[in-house]
Subunit: 143 residues, 2 copies
Amino acid sequence: MESKIFRDFLIQRGLKLTKERMAVLNQIFSIHGHFEPEHLYLNIRNSEIKASRASVYRTLNLLVESGLVERISRSDKGNVYEHTYGHSHHDHMICTTCGVVIEFFSESLEELQKMICTEYHFAGTTHTLEIRGKCRTCQKRKK
Amino acid sequence: MESKIFRDFLIQRGLKLTKERMAVLNQIFSIHGHFEPEHLYLNIRNSEIKASRASVYRTLNLLVESGLVERISRSDKGNVYEHTYGHSHHDHMICTTCGVVIEFFSESLEELQKMICTEYHFAGTTHTLEIRGKCRTCQKRKK
DNA sequence: AGCGTATTTGCAACTTAATCTCAATTTCAG
DNA sequence: CTGAAATTGAGATTAAGTTGCAAATACGCT
């Protein structure tokens, strides 16, 4: 469970498990899909246990370091994150017209990337692939 | 030649070809590889024909719209761009230890992405693939 | 359970990249 | 050449995210 992982991460670093940190963690794992820090902060403002903007950002950074959360892109309006625990690796297609995000995964793509890394003697650990274009709906809408 | 392309782009949009815009264009195409807007601005400050920061940023956006320049990533410290004219498509491996950027291209990777797009009924136009990890040198350096 | 201390919090001030405002200047079609 | 429309530069502004610091809190120790 994610809170156990986070707790262990904090202990191992000599950090403390505060209610604010738990509030941020819970809020993130109650969100389905992607989120922006500001949106996250607003949700927390309206929840039972609150946390300041500073704490939200600080906790978010800790969560990224712990590996529970990943920053998946930087839009013109700040970062976009998603939680990765219980959420296997995937890449994104982003519609430049309506902004919809389609998640996809391809084993062949992963394999191919591994091969390319080998070829370049590069020890790849993570990657981000973002394909931009038009989603099915927006293609139709275009006269 | 890039200045002709830019000129045509401007005319087609009813915009004007100013010396400041040319200065930005020339500076960008004299840079080999990647650049950051602030760095670009500083170079222009020291060149023959100068342009203000505002003009540099405005021109940069126009160049991206014209397709001559591409924004390849958003680091913690702002955006990174590169010119694409006379510079065929490629992706990047970024060493998380020393920051070196390795450019690579794989036809199979491109093909595979096209297939995936078809599968998802997505009309992909551009993509960015960034593989992070350790470069050959940093792997060796690691005891 | 209570103590002591190192960590954390919240607030507001700050930082940094990038955009905007607007008066003065420049481009360029006619 | 002329004049309308676009552009420029300087500085103000915006917005995301970070930081300093005094007060509050978590938690190992006894």
